[in-house]
Symmetry: D2
Subunit: 411 residues, 4 copies
């Protein structure tokens, strides 16, 4: 029955998303995938933009939807994409974020040390591939860029991949930051493939210009908003403090056994790749483990842990200042001393409330990936070589700011 293997999902961004292959339906129904419902796509951005509570599952479905449009548009232009390749590239995009843990942007090097989320995505895909009898083979090859038609990989992971097109569109939609709107549909219509490489037609140049500017705006106005940075850094400090207390032998228990496991067993993460039971444990972690635990820690006897936890839960966040140059060390030390006196803690402990760092806008790394432009005369240039001063400026513009977090004076 054809109808049984078809599911239509309402999406406020694109209208409807259609899943119409049994493999895709089975992937989405899998507990590992359903877990993405419990991981917020934008972590703490909702503290500033209350609408930004959409999930990684929603984003993955959205990127998958765009992939369907891209495949249709490219085929119309005569690019050959077989049924199997279509399914493969859809599998790859559907699962591209499956390796994300809760608050992974903040926690990637705290809870699961030294294992990148893309590595985890691949491990999980391989696991699912076993479960589904090898049906994910092509998808995995595309995901790992081990497939001859390179443009398929570039649709999944590249400067103009469906991941980016969806998250900018979706994040802009749910935050209500209308300036972040990009013309994703125009960009899709302008995609081209030459010699197996993905590129865009020349007449998309203003849309690309706009795309780069919108992305820049989203970074500084949303992703790296002061309040968002403060909350993320507090979360990191909370877990670091917990680990420190554990190291000292103090009791620090989590609200779930899986988080307990990863927090107490420092070798757990590195063993994930060789131990499928550890991988399964990882796939049970989500926002509920992290925030549920921190809610409990508000009542922990350690004052550093409890104060930071209470601040994060009640949205009494550390103050943040940004500037173009590193902060003066004497200034930072002075703040620490003041905090130490104010809270009656050691200066070392005060370092949990006063600290500095760098916020980086990873908009476009010219050394890294590329946006290729196909000109009317058939020539191809990388965008960094295009004669468009505005684009050059965007590409070259500030990508780093220095921040300091500290207790608000008088509190």
């Amino acid at each position: 029955m054809a109808l049984l293997s078809r599911k239509i999902i309402n999406d406020p961004v694109y209208g409807f998303i259609t899943l119409d292959h049994p493999l895709l339906l089975n992937i989405v129904a899998h507990p590992y995938y359903q877990r993405l419902r419990r991981i917020n796509q934008m972590a703490f951005a909702h503290l500033v933009y209350p609408g930004a509570v959409h999930t990684r599952l929603h984003h993955s479905l959205g990127a998958y939807h765009l992939m369907g449009d891209a495949v249709t548009d490219l085929r119309r232009k005569g690019i050959e994409i077989s049924e199997e390749e279509e399914l493969g590239v859809k599998v790859a995009i559907l699962l591209h974020d499956i390796g994300h843990g809760p608050y992974s942007h903040a926690l990637e090097n705290v809870v699961i040390r030294g294992v990148h989320h893309e590595t985890l995505s691949l491990l999980i895909m391989k696991e699912l591939n076993k479960e589904f009898g090898g049906q994910l083979e092509t998808g995995i090859r595309i995901f790992t860029n081990d497939y001859p038609k390179r443009f398929l990989h570039q649709l999944v992971s590249g400067q103009l991949d469906m991941d980016r097109l969806d998250y900018l569109t979706r994040d802009s939609f749910f935050t209500g930051v209308s300036e972040g709107v990009i013309g994703y549909d125009r960009i899709l219509k302008m995609l081209a493939v030459v010699d197996g490489e993905l590129m865009v037609e020349e007449k998309a140049i203003y849309s690309i210009e706009k795309f780069l500017v919108a992305r820049r705006l989203m970074y500084w106005q949303v992703y790296l908003h002061k309040t968002v940075v403060s909350a993320e850094k507090m979360l990191v400090r909370i877990l670091e403090r917990a680990r420190e207390l554990i190291g000292r032998g103090m009791e620090v228990s989590c609200c779930s056994p899986v988080l307990d496991f990863f927090l107490h067993d420092v070798t757990a993460a590195s063993a994930i790749s060789s131990n499928s039971s550890n991988l399964d444990k990882f796939c049970r972690l989500d926002d509920f483990d992290v925030m549920g635990t921190i809610k409990n820690w508000i009542f922990h006897p350690d004052m550093v842990l409890s104060e930071l936890s209470r601040g994060l839960i009640d949205r009494k966040l550390l103050k943040v200042k940004f500037q173009a140059t590193p902060f003066d060390m004497a200034y930072v030390e002075g703040l620490k001393e003041k905090t130490s006196r104010q809270l009656g803690i050691t200066k070392e402990e005060a370092g949990y409330f006063v600290f500095t760092g760098e916020a980086v806008n990873t908009t476009y790394n010219p050394a890294d990936e590329k946006i290729r432009i196909l000109f009317r005369d058939g020539s191809i240039k990388d965008i960094s070589q295009v004669d468009n001063a505005l684009i050059q400026q965007t590409l070259a513009s500030t990508v780093k700011k220095f921040y300091i977090c500290h207790l608000s004076t008088g509190s």
Copy 2:
């Protein structure tokens, strides 16, 4: 500094929401209010509509925004509303849902027995009133309909209150169910007040017609969607099972002390109103306590508890069927027996997987509140007396369906 007491919040639905009074800012900053960030407005609707993850905080802010528009529009029509009344009615709408606990639609009679969320809202308002030195006095009088200008209360709670206008608009927006769109702004423009009562001008009649139909559609297509009903009922059964096991002396621990407290101490809820420490505990409950706990129960030794928990978390839900008449008891008993054999549990335990009930669309209770229409000739009629067959039909149409939940065959 005027600017210090002003905050602008992006909202994808209305653009911007402005908070411009210190009291309003203080209320929103309070931990009791911030907790609404952790309570999903639509509970399990996101299992069908993945965008429906907006929070009670977001809805409250939205309803507050509409209130500002309503006040402005009414004043333009010559209705007198003092500064103090404006602040009061805004306080009342901002806090109208503060008494909601997690999944309160499902859990109102399970976790917190016998205490209605409006009662809790009032208790919390009173608590905040103490904390803020009596500034919520007028707001509380309006909320409890103890204020002479009755239309102010009706803006907070009535057939066309800001609560309803916002939640229908917002829920339709986030689910992507475009058919649920109501013309909230037209209705606002058509509000009138005669003899202290809120009503709408005659020319809003098609918008009201549309409002009633959209609401009906939202009920059957979203709020009472089969999958949503299934998840909610499973949650109820899970907590009932937990209580039953506790009653038998079995260990059933929650992921947080506060949920442990309410689940184990059956008199806790009734004592809330007389015990402000219990009220404070209630104000720490949110979705994280409930879902974090159920995640843990997947590994509980009791098979009923663990199976239901796993089903809810992994979205392997009980099947639901709706029909217009009650289900045949023999049929239900037959299903229970089959389930009892299938899972190797008692027939009584099978009742946790097979059960019936009623889904009620509480669209409009003609006996209860009213929509008054102001005609051009100055006469006023209740909508149930208006000569509009479509409206009469909507008002009179089916509001109840019978459902059965059961294990899917073969699983």
Copy 3:
């Protein structure tokens, strides 16, 4: 070169509309089609809703776009539609309104007497078919319901055809009447074909309910809005007066030779079908001929003609009243007499400023076309037999109101 025969058009409603067949591009480029740019889709609705200035060309392209989606969705469900049929049904929808003249709703029986716009559409299609060497053959057969797969015709012309889905969506969009929004995309997804007949799946029932109510709202709130009716009737009266003066031998010249021709030669219209030069003349008529002419008539010596013309151009419209029963003749006669005295004209002439008629909401004629519902058990019912009181009520509800137009008192 595939790319040469592809055109992408921005549409604020659907994002992009793609034309990707040389025949479709040639049809759209034809002067007969381009003329639709100069015919307002909603005639005088813009006098109330200033955004409602979209054209018949835009609507035709929109309906064509939906047809593409419908074909894709039906094929996914296993319905066979050949390439030729796809092109045919697209041609048919693209040209379904080509026979509309300017203000055709109002003028169908005034300027072009007794020739229905669908007849003209067919004549023009045949003409284009000659020009394009027979390529429109299948499209014409589908348009005239002379094609075996009846569902193709029903997609072009039926209760749920692409014409209606687009015009309700588009008119609601451009007027800003958000209550008129229908879930066109959900309806498309729910289309089914059984035994060659178009129908919708049962689960679309609330969307259909909504569709019928939205259409009703659009009729009374927009299409038959008092101001819109007044302007349309004034236009009819103006042209009737012009004809009357011509009949009396008075000079009444138009701003274009083609309108002169049709206005002076009473047999012209009936000869259209047998005279392709007359058809070509018809295809040069648009809103500019009509309104340009009426602008000039503001200075015509006949006071009836000039006053009505000035009123229409300057938006000083006749007053309109609606009621459920016919107007009392004595009352109407009284108004005429008053007007006759006020303007110093004969009572007969006063009849141009005071007149009555019927406004009819042609929502759904149960005797006529049908919406078929496909139930889960495979049974099929017409919507008029569905057990849904709201739908029944909508179908049965008032479709006629009586109106009177008259000079405003004192003006």
Copy 4:
């Protein structure tokens, strides 16, 4: 009766626009204002973007709506604006475009020679001021920047005036070019006034950046789109040819006496300011006069006139090429000769089909008006001095391209 002097207008862009003062209602009802219904805001842009058929009336109402929001927001920040000033600034924005004639961007120096539309706006305002007993006095002073509170004028005419905010928003909406969306509401919220000058708060910097980029995109992608430029230039050439023929004594009649008047009487325009009957004539000109006339000229005996007219009406436009440097004269002459032979006309006449010019993006003239930024520390800088490379680049980027129009080869 307060309600009588209030009108609510649906707008798809902002929802509702409220007119709530008798003077505003009377201005809008005036024939001079109603005439703006018949002037397309975007001239020929609809030839590329079929939705772009909104009118100057609609835009004026939109800018008026934003003005209301700006006044409310500024007052909330403590800026004093009296009732009379509010009315004045609203009158000024409502009438800021009243002096536009049909296709004025193209025709300003053709039909009405040497009289700028702002001059005409002022003349018409003065005329209306007489008619309305001096009630427009304050509005006129604000419009002419002859009012002490300079920020009021800047809201009407300046780099961030309501005119620009509305037309960018509205044009982007109706064309469907989503990349043109600006955050108009955020900019409004960030407006400030210091020492009587309008400025924006520092935190609006990314929105301003976005505003400048969006405007640039709209210029090159929409306002100066090749097809749009071609149609505008053809219109200019058509009217120039008509004037030339008239000069030679040939009969060239228009579809309306007013266009005849302005086309034949070369001194008419310059006499407008001293002759109110000429001003009244000007106020009867609209798109219908121009396009109605050109439709007739398709059949004019002069081949240059008829061919250009047919091309414009049937959308068979001259080809356009853009480049960064002026076109080579020999190349242009060659094309003229070819065209002269092809059409059998003189080389001079061929100049009507082959010609060059400059397309200028008037985004921001740093020498001219300014955007002032108010920094947190109270300092004020012009945007051209702000340390933001992207903005500097946008301000400095290409504003001029050279174009050539010519007959398509082989046609």
